[in-house]
């Protein structure tokens, strides 16, 4: 007994074919949307590639771009097929291609689902990648004279200004690294050499932050130097002052930004997946209905359409047997034509063929 059998009259088949033709063209448009979403995500990640380490992140937009392109091609072909299915004569030239086309569409629809799920599961990879990337960028903030790192200062400053954040987790991250290059430090001064000697690694550490950490909403001109020293500034209490610098860490800010983008894209891709599933179901019904009508012979009669000819268990079993038998094609034992005792050998005596002289 077939799975989800539906009976189609001739007009029903015609209408189904027309509707599917329109839906396939809409799917081409959704394929273009998918492609552009992948492109948008790729550009967003490219923009901040200096702050991300690792390349696993790039796989998500690449997957979306590839799926989008494949969607356009498959649905374009599907539109052509459905257009021809309205006329049963034209259907004949697509008859052999229909089943492979449906199998391809099934796998491709599965890929869309994988793409959507990847958007949601990228979170952990993104978190780790951003943490490492930001830490590296902050460490090389001072190296504006080293080729390959000279733009990191500008990148980090613009990031902190644009996303209104400071440091990796918080502003204290700047206290643990030397962010002023040695070329701007007067090594002869006793204050500088004291500071160098005061820590194990010989770095010039101070409780100060770059200017890009300053909060524009503060009522007071920005305090960047000696941030933890209450006596260094008049009317200042480090513990209660919360509007002087940006409170959020850039790791959290970037993570939120990318998570929002990925979630919106994931949602859209899921909707596109549901739509593609609908189109796939329709094309399957159309294919089985057309094949049955050809089998019946009478092109104007009713025919049945279904998703699977037998139940799911039986189809799975028969497919499994086919695969099993494919694997045994070189083993001779089971070949029924070998080792069967020939009747002719026992009953028919061997005849000597007279030699013509």
């Amino acid at each position: 007994m077939a799975v989800l059998k539906v009976t189609f009259t001739k007009t029903n088949r015609g209408k189904l074919a027309q509707v599917l033709w329109v839906l396939n063209w809409i799917s081409v448009v959704t394929g273009i949307i998918l492609f552009s979403l992948g492109l948008f995500l790729k550009i967003e990640i490219q923009k901040r590639r200096e702050l991300m380490s690792g390349h696993e992140i790039r796989s998500v937009p690449n997957m979306l771009i590839a799926t989008g392109l494949v969607a356009c091609c498959i649905n374009f072909l599907g539109g052509k097929i459905c257009y021809d299915c309205v006329d049963t004569n034209k259907f004949l030239r697509w008859k052999l291609l229909m089943l492979p086309y449906i199998v391809c569409t099934f796998f491709f629809t599965f890929c869309i689902l994988v793409g959507a799920l990847m958007c949601y599961t990228m979170h952990n990879q993104l978190e780790e990648s951003l943490f490492q990337g930001l830490r590296g960028a902050m460490r090389y903030y001072k190296d504006t004279d080293t080729p390959g790192r000279c733009y990191l200062k500008r990148t980090v400053d613009m990031l902190q200004i644009q996303f209104q954040c400071c440091g990796n987790v918080g502003h204290r991250d700047w206290f643990h690294i030397q962010w002023i290059s040695n070329r701007y430090l007067d090594m002869t001064s006793s204050e500088v050499s004291d500071r160098f000697r005061s820590n194990v690694e010989g770095k010039y550490l101070m409780d100060a932050v770059p200017f890009s950490c300053c909060n524009t909403y503060s009522p007071r001109p920005c305090i960047q130097q000696q941030v933890t020293n209450n006596s260094a500034h008049y009317n200042y209490d480090y513990q209660t002052e919360d509007r002087n610098l940006w409170k959020r860490g850039c790791h959290q800010a970037l993570l939120d930004h990318y998570t929002n983008i990925m979630q919106s894209i994931g949602c859209t891709v899921l909707i596109i997946w549901l739509f593609e599933l609908l189109v796939l179901t329709g094309v399957r019904y159309l294919q089985t209905a057309m094949e049955n009508v050809l089998r019946l012979g009478d092109l104007d009669s009713e025919s049945d359409g279904w998703l699977l000819e037998n139940s799911i268990a039986e189809t799975a079993r028969s497919n499994f047997n086919i695969i099993k038998n494919l694997g045994k094609c070189y083993q001779v034992d089971d070949d029924p034509n070998i080792n069967v005792p020939s009747v002719a050998q026992q009953e028919v005596p061997t005849r000597q063929i007279p030699v013509a002289s």
């Binding site: 504006t144 004279d145 000279c150 200062k153 500008r154 400053d157 613009m158 200004i161 962010w179 002023i180 290059s181 070329r183 701007y184 430090l185 007067d186 001064s189 770059p210 200017f211 890009s212 300053c214 524009t216 909403y217 009522p219 007071r220 001109p221 920005c222 960047q224 500034h233 008049y234 009317n235 200042y236």
Partner: protein, 354 residues
């Protein structure tokens, strides 16, 4: 002798009407485009309204918005006229509307041209408005506790960071203003007292700038204080240092920004003007050709279309005469009859001579 006469056989009249209908609808879209350009320009001006002292420059986007809306209605009307023009029974009812339509169209074109001219002419006024607005913004930068001025600090900081500029003319403007509020100054300290006493008005002036003047492209962490003192910072020379702060003044930055915007909008508006003039001229030809065709024995014959029935000078004289008659209603009673007789004479004589 008519001005710019052209012959219009039937097929050319039909072609003209169809083409004009299409162009009229394009002009409707152009009107919508003009309106949206006006809205965009106004939004951009309002975004920085806090650093502008007056709103004279707003006349440009206002004109664009009004003309855009009026054009949409006007040219929809023109499209309707074109649709009816080929039907001789329906065209006559539009006749009384045509002269006011031409007047309105010329008015709209004139307004658009004036908008383009004003956008360049008001540059000086814009600069003056920005000068005063920025000066006030910098002066009230420290008054974050005074209602009505508490937003100035944030506005100026955002402006300097977004437009990459510092101060009014340049960063030295900050040296002449006390931009640190007295509530954050320790008046018991000797240094503060000396500085306050060192100038006439008793203000705390210093050669320092706010953090928003800092240039992120500088290879060196930003130097904000003691800018003119070379010895205060290691390896620093005030005269040759140009990447530390933004070099441009915010007034120049804003004027450049708005002039750039208007220069981009300018060609769009000029093309809208040319399309509108095309529609006006074509509709005049269509009107005169259709009227000429209506007077012929066979309406499908060739007719003549023109811009003005008589030459420019004669039309102006006639117009002046009609205008003066309107102003002097008393003398109208005698004149029309005499004028009618004159016109009848003129009308009957040319056919006799031709």
């Amino acid at each position: 002798m008519a001005l710019l006469k052209m012959q219009f056989p039937l097929h050319r009249r039909v072609r003209l009407a169809q083409g004009l209908w299409l162009i009229s609808w394009m002009t409707v879209l152009a009107g919508a485009f003009t309106f949206s350009l006006g809205v965009y320009l106004k939004t951009e001006l309002l975004r920085r309204a806090e650093v502008m002292d007056n709103t004279e420059i707003h006349v440009v986007p206002n004109i664009l918005m009004l003309v855009g809306l009026a054009s949409i209605g006007n040219y929809m009307f023109a499209g309707r006229i074109c649709q009816d023009s080929l039907d001789p029974s329906r065209f006559p009812r539009w006749k009384p509307f045509l002269l006011p339509w031409f007047g309105l169209s010329m008015l709209l074109c004139a307004h658009l041209i004036s908008a383009v001219v004003l956008s360049y002419a008001l540059q000086g006024s814009l600069e003056e408005s920005l000068k005063v607005g920025l000066r006030n913004g910098i002066r009230f930068y420290r008054d974050t506790d005074v209602p009505g001025r508490c937003f100035q600090k944030e506005t100026i900081d955002r402006l300097q960071m977004d437009l990459r500029c510092c101060g009014n003319t340049n960063y030295r403007d900050w040296f002449e203003v006390q931009w640190i509020s007295s509530r954050y100054l320790d008046f018991t300290s000797k240094e503060v007292k000396d500085r306050v006493r060192s100038n006439v008005d008793g203000r705390y002036l210093m050669d320092g700038v706010p953090f928003s003047c800092c240039n992120p492209s500088s290879p060196r962490p930003c130097l904000q204080e003691h800018l003119t003192d070379n010895s205060a910072h290691f390896n620093y020379e005030h005269q040759s240092e140009e990447l530390n702060l933004y070099n441009r003044g915010c007034r120049q930055a804003l004027v450049d920004y708005y002039m750039g915007l208007m220069n981009t909008i300018g060609p769009g508006i000029l093309s809208v003007i040319s399309v509108q003039i095309t529609v006006m001229v074509s509709l005049r030809y269509l009107q005169t050709a259709m009227e000429g065709a209506a007077e012929l024995e066979n309406p499908e014959d060739e007719s003549v279309g023109y811009i003005l029935e008589k030459g420019v000078k004669e039309t102006v004289t006639n117009f002046k005469g009609a205008f003066l008659n309107l102003l002097q209603p008393g003398s109208v009673e005698v004149a029309p009859e005499a004028a009618e007789v004159e016109n009848v004479d003129k009308a009957t004589s040319p056919p006799a001579s031709s």
